[in-house]
């Protein structure tokens, strides 16, 4: 039973365009959400987070949107750069350790 779902295993975007990565969750107790980026042979690195009391958090090229009623969040990267090519994991937290989605592989094409 997957509590955090990333339904798109992969995404290709042209350099300079917007990348939108989506994530859905089922557990209404989740109240903090994070995005991690992972390169091959490395551990995931924290990217951006959002609390459930907000609906948007922005950090440079990265913006996370949260729609609590739909139990949906998305990560927007604009403009996309080739160095953004990686696997992106959505994660959610309540009082237990992070629950991760399966990840979306983003490929930014020059």
């Amino acid at each position: 039973d997957q509590q955090v779902k990333q339904n798109s295993p992969s995404l290709s975007v042209q350099e300079g365009r917007i990348s939108i990565l989506n994530c859905d969750y089922t557990n209404s107790m989740f109240d903090y959400f994070l995005w991690y980026k992972k390169y091959p042979a490395e551990g995931p690195t924290f990217l951006i987070s959002i609390s459930s009391i907000k609906d948007k958090n922005e950090d440079g090229r990265f913006t996370v949107f949260l729609n609590k009623s739909a139990k949906h969040l998305s990560l927007h990267i604009v403009p996309s750069q080739p160095g953004d090519s990686a696997v992106y994991f959505c994660a959610a937290l309540s009082s237990t350790p992070l629950v991760f989605g399966k990840g979306t592989r983003l490929s930014v094409i020059a």
Binding site: V4, Q6, Y32, L34, Y36, A41, E42, G43, P44, T45, F46, S49, S51, F89, A91, L93, S95, T96, P97, L98, V99, F100, G101, K102, G103
Partner: protein, 114 residues
Amino acid sequence: EAGVTQSPTHLIKTRGQQATLRCSPISGHTSVYWYQQALGLGLQFLLWYDEGEERNRGNFPPRFSGRQFPNYSSELNVNALELEDSALYLCASSLLVGGYAEAFFGQGTRLTVV
């Protein structure tokens, strides 16, 4: 400041053997988490230690166990290895403040069971 360090980076074991994986958290972090990333799957939560105690456990059999030492470093033990235990094992650490904390990950230990 040193990040989360894991050893070894690669480990090859035969079926039925035991594997021991080690993790040193970021200095000052008291919580250590273990995750398994098997091929085609996301990060599956294994174990959470905080202040030397096991706080939570994922849906894994008892042959997956671990401990946290007084210096907050941690060890993951996998007994009676099976082929499907082959995966990347990631350790993360955090400092719990108000219940929320970003977890910082190590580079992982690639375990191969043959």
